[in-house]
């Protein structure tokens, strides 16, 4: 069976509409699964229409590629731990980037053999190869940082920005030269330089800025697809590329706004260090006039509370404390205590990371509130439990104009009657800023692994059962 170019175009249009509806489905958790289904149908239609089109004449390599790729994709998706989602996403972004580079080079070879190269096409090819290459190596570096293979510290060296600007200019110059001459050498060198640029752009950015980086690379992978669409004169690729590109761009904007920083500052700033100097937890606390509390103290206040708000952060993910939190939530709810979770937009290592982890632990999503929803509730809350978060509850962001995080919107945990901070040690947060909330009269710190502490609370709550 073969379909005409016009039929193919119509199917592509249907497919594009399905992709739009697919993203629209994510407006609400209740419609999200239908959205994902639309996406899958859209993709199936697009692939079928392409395979049945008159341009495809040989199937051997295609079938081989799909047969190898599909099980790898399935295995990755089904095996991955929810805490490792940022790594998986970074890996998948790198694949899109590399695929875009390969498509650009393959298209060049095919069109050169057919003698149908022109300057516009080669310009579009260059754009696809450059964006794809930056996406590829940038995502590999992001993966390395998330996986702990590369230090999460921002790596800064002299003349860094000048170096990046130099590489970028040389890459573009080679792209222009390629478009004018069709020189394979220029294309190759341009692609290599773009690969290098992906590394030098992402390596200076610190681990705490990962939510922005993930969003940015998400955006790049979309632009790479759109550029490929221009090369192939394929409107479906252009539409999908634009949707994905904007999705990543908007997420980057939301993440930056939640840190009160500009995208320029994130990309060029090299903000924050991964770990400060570690002091022995107890000694540091004594010295600074911090109250430490026991699990029993916190349970005593929580079981008679009207409302408990839990503020999760990356530390919760590291300790895998979400399942214990769910058990604690149920025990408290059995005592008529309202339990809510307040999530800051940049908590975790990618946008929405905490929501997925809480959902994994079977915590209903209507218990999980965004910053603006939960902030008015703190003042009327008896106990706030901060689990592995730090900067996002630091009042310095509101009160101390000299603080590096000044102006960042925060969760106003300090307004609740009691604040319990679950902490491993006295290390400052990723910003390296001391947390003013520690010294507030209503704040106590509970030292130890977050999961152990919550499990201790669960045991204590069971023990005092009415």
């Amino acid at each position: 069976m073969q379909i005409s170019a016009n039929t193919q175009a119509i199917v592509y249009l249907v497919s594009a509409a399905l992709f739009i509806l697919s993203l629209k489905g994510l407006t609400h958790p209740a419609t999200a699964r239908r959205g994902s289904l639309y996406g899958m149908v859209g993709m199936a239609l697009a692939i079928a229409a392409t395979l049945l089109g008159e341009q495809i004449e040989s199937y051997g390599f295609i079938v081989a590629g799909v047969l190898v790729g599909a099980p790898i994709g399935a295995l990755l998706a089904l095996r991955i731990q929810m805490t490792a989602m940022p790594q998986l996403v970074a890996a998948l972004h790198s694949f899109v980037g590399l695929a875009a580079v390969l498509v650009a080079i393959g298209t060049f070879l095919n069109r050169r053999d057919a003698g149908s190269l022109d300057a516009v096409l080669m310009g579009e090819l260059s754009a696809g190869a450059i964006i794809g290459a930056i996406t590829f190596t940038g995502s590999v570096i992001a993966f390395g940082k998330l996986q702990g293979l590369i230090s999460g510290k921002p790596l800064k060296f002299a003349l860094q920005h000048q170096l990046n600007a130099g590489i970028a200019l040389a890459t573009i110059a080679l792209g222009v030269h390629f478009a004018m001459t069709g020189s394979l050498f220029s294309l190759t060198l341009m692609t290599l330089l773009a690969l290098l640029l992906g590394v030098t752009l992402i390596i200076p950015i610190g681990g705490a800025d990962m939510p922005v980086i993930i969003s940015m690379l998400n955006s790049y992978s979309g632009w790479a697809a759109a550029a490929t669409g221009f090369t192939l004169q394929n409107n479906l690729l252009i539409i999908v590329g634009a949707l994905v590109g904007f999705s990543g761009a908007i997420l980057s904007y939301i993440m930056c706004k939640a840190m009160n920083r500009s995208i320029v500052n994130v990309v060029f700033g090299g903000f924050g260090s991964e770990s400060g100097t570690e002091q022995s937890a107890g000694a540091a606390a004594m010295e600074k006039g911090i109250k430490s509390a026991s699990v029993e103290d916190a349970v005593y206040w929580m079981e008679d509370a009207n409302r408990v708000i839990v503020v999760p952060g990356y530390g919760m993910a590291v300790a895998q404390a979400q399942h214990a939190l769910k058990e604690m939530m149920e025990l408290l709810e059995a005592r008529d205590v309202e339990v809510k979770f307040g999530v800051h937009p940049v908590a975790g290592r990618m946008p929405g990371h905490m929501n997925v982890l809480l959902a994994e632990a079977d915590i209903p999503y209507d218990h999980v509130l965004e910053m603006d929803e939960v902030n008015p509730d703190f003042a009327s809350t008896d106990v706030t439990l901060v689990v592995g978060a730090n900067d996002v509850v630091n009042p310095a962001a509101k009160e101390d104009a000299s603080s590096p995080i000044y102006g960042m919107p925060i969760l106003e945990a300090g307004r609740s009657k009691q604040v319990y901070f679950l902490k491993r040690s006295m290390n400052p947060g990723y910003s390296g800023v001391d947390n003013l909330l520690f010294y507030q009269d209503n704040t106590s710190l509970i030292f130890g692994d977050a999961k152990d502490t919550i499990e201790g609370m669960v045991v204590a709550l069971k023990g005092t059962g009415h």
């Binding site: 739009i20 958790p29 993709m43 390599f61 998706a77 999908v240 939301i254 929405g352």
Partner: protein, 95 residues
């Protein structure tokens, strides 16, 4: 109107659709959003198919195309599966 200009029209209009649709996405689903956009950016598979399936494609182009198809397939399959896995966890009430 030249084809490239038509493509530019499509691109710019699609950008507007993307802008409005994405602002509607609830923040609690931002991780599934990244995973889903990842899956649908696997649409580069269409490009990979066109490079690989061309009857006159040389050995080098076909080999390059094979790897492009492979990578894009990982994205499509892995992206949708992991999105569904995450979305199935978002429940309103306890079982």
């Amino acid at each position: 109107m030249p084809d490239t200009l038509v493509a530019l029209y499509v691109f710019v209009l699609a950008c507007f659709i993307g802008y409005w649709v994405i602002w509607g996405v609830t923040p609690s689903l931002h991780t599934p959003l990244v995973a889903l956009t990842n899956a649908i950016s696997g649409i580069v598979i269409v490009g990979a198919l066109l490079v690989t399936g061309l009857g006159s494609a040389g050995g080098l182009a076909q080999t390059i195309g094979f790897f492009a198809v492979l990578l894009a397939t990982i994205n499509v399959v892995g992206g949708f599966l992991v999105t569904n896995r995450m979305l199935s966890m978002f429940r309103k009430k306890n079982k």
